[in-house]
């Protein structure tokens, strides 16, 4: 499966400035591993020491937060869009 991953500004120094990259994988966990294979150092920025996605990063598969799905095990399909979005201030 090939998905498009949208890269936020703080990580673009690792993707040669690219704001979108195509990555292969069957689920979000594999997408992160394959991102790391292509862009060394990116996993350490996205995941904590336990391999979980850092507290202040939101991962979306298409328009859904993966925490409402299967987290790292969330399966992806060809052509899906994955967004990595830093958590931001809530405001009413």
């Amino acid at each position: 499966m090939s998905v498009t991953v949208r890269i936020p500004t703080p990580l673009r120094s690792l993707t040669d400035g690219k704001d979108e990259v195509n990555v292969e994988g069957e689920n979000i966990g594999e997408i992160i591993e394959n991102l790391e294979a292509s862009y060394k150092g990116i996993k350490e920025r996205i995941c904590d020491n336990d391999g979980q996605i850092r507290r202040f990063i939101n991962f979306y598969l298409n328009d859904e937060d993966i925490r409402f799905m299967g987290n790292l095990e969330t399966a992806v399909k060809d052509g899906d869009n994955v967004s990595i979005v830093p958590a931001i201030a809530g405001g009413n």
Partner: protein, 414 residues
């Protein structure tokens, strides 16, 4: 000249210059303004603060701007109401309502954060500002951007209360309504800030924006005669306000303006959107996002960015958190209106009803001082109480018909 040294990551403590940055480029932790407190201590005193105008800018040295405020110079210093009638209903000795429903210019505590953020946006040279909003923030950004001659983009869920939409449209901003909830809007704004480079106040100006909330806490303390209360009950949406009230208390202790405080911070949410209270009650700091389902739209944030820190602030202070149903929050709105003459929006109804619950649970002792935070105005969310207040009797202009109304009243018909 201000007293901001720079920005610092709240997680890994990496330092950054004072620029429009909001996340740590390494660990994605939120950035926080870092002040020169020694410098502030040398020039700021209680008497200097008291000698200044009655606005939030009397605490200017503790806010993240470099010069004088250029936007919202009249914001803040709202009343701290001694709520004796409500205290009687609750059976408590000392109760106050910090009433930001009359804040200037748009009747919510968001005027504080927006004047801070837009002053900073002008310092940074932005011409276009914006926000993700559940209503109050949009009102304030639109109004204060108009005053500051900045172009504004307000992004909101499509189903917001009419009062909040009109209260934004009137100032002539660009409004985009999004099919989705606030969390969808928030995410979109994060991507807009990234792509368009505008000053989105609650995204890329977040570290500066959030500091405006501290003034709500400073004012409570000053208005109590330079004393922190024992309990403060705070509505929680993204969870920023409760953490900033905690920070305000700590800063006043650090500056020697008050003795060491043992204020307990209590958080309030609607049961239909309660990821923070759920975490507190489960004694965990892991926030599980939810899909909001409540009429309390202004605090209907299912993925609260400051949720983790809210839990921490509540736990460190020895406070607690509770949530209430939509029916309970409507009763809270009515109770505050009928006892103290204050018409609050849904979030305020939540806060009043949660306060009552915490008192009944014994989490707030009846003989200790309590402050309830009212952060927005009920005139913006009239839908919440529509059809729940009874219908006034209509009569002809006849004394006989009025007498009949009085007879019915005496007979206890209404």
């Amino acid at each position: 000249m201000g007293f901001v040294k720079g920005l610092k990551c709240r997680e890994c403590e990496k330092s950054y210059p004072k620029e429009p940055l909001h996340v740590c480029s390494f660990c994605f932790g939120p950035l926080e303004v870092d002040y020169d407190y020694d410098g502030i201590k040398k020039i700021l005193s209680k008497s200097i603060i008291e000698s200044r105008g009655k606005t939030m800018w009397r605490y200017q040295e503790l806010l993240p701007i470099d010069g004088e405020p250029t936007v919202g110079a009249q914001v803040g210093y709202t009343p701290l109401v001694k709520a004796d009638n409500l205290a009687k209903v609750f059976g408590v000795d000392e109760l106050y309502v910090k009433n930001d429903s009359v804040n200037y210019p748009t009747f919510s505590f968001k005027d504080r954060v927006v004047s801070t953020a837009l002053t900073k946006a002008k310092e940074f040279g932005y011409k276009t500002v914006g926000c993700a909003t559940t209503g109050n923030l949009g009102n304030s950004v639109a109004a204060q951007a108009a005053q500051a001659c900045l172009e504004s983009y307000i992004v909101m869920p499509a189903d917001l209360e009419q009062g909040k939409v009109i209260g934004t449209l009137i100032y002539g901003p660009n409004i985009v309504k999004v099919r989705g909830n606030y969390d969808n809007v928030n995410r979109l704004c994060s991507e807009i800030a990234d792509k368009y480079g505008w000053a989105i106040v609650n995204v890329n100006l977040r570290p500066y924006y959030g500091e405006g909330s501290k003034t709500y806490g400073y004012e409570i303390i000053e208005q109590l005669g330079w004393k922190a209360p024992k309990h403060i009950v705070v509505p929680m949406a993204g969870g920023s306000l409760i953490t900033k009230i905690g920070k305000a208390i700590k800063e006043f202790v650090k500056l020697g303006f008050i003795e060491e405080a043992d204020t307990k911070l209590h958080g309030a949410q609607a049961s239909g959107s309660s990821p923070i209270t759920t975490a507190v009650k489960a004694e965990t700091d892991v926030i599980r996002p939810v899909k909001p389902n409540t009429i309390a739209q202004s605090i209907a944030i299912g993925n609260p960015a400051d949720g983790f820190y809210s839990v921490k602030s509540i736990n460190v202070s020895g406070g607690w958190a509770e949530d209430v149903t939509d029916d309970e929050l409507v009763e809270g709105i009515k109770l505050l209106a009928r006892t103290e003459g204050i018409f609050t929006e849904t979030a305020g109804g939540v806060t009043v009803a949660v306060t009552q619950k915490l008192i009944e649970q014994g989490k707030i002792p009846r003989n200790e001082s309590i402050v309830i935070c009212i952060t927005g105005n009920g005139l913006k969310t009239q839908e919440a109480v529509l059809n729940k207040l009874g219908e006034p009797k209509i009569i002809n202009p006849s004394l006989a018909e009025f007498d009949a109304v009085m007879d019915e009243k005496m007979a206890g018909v209404h």
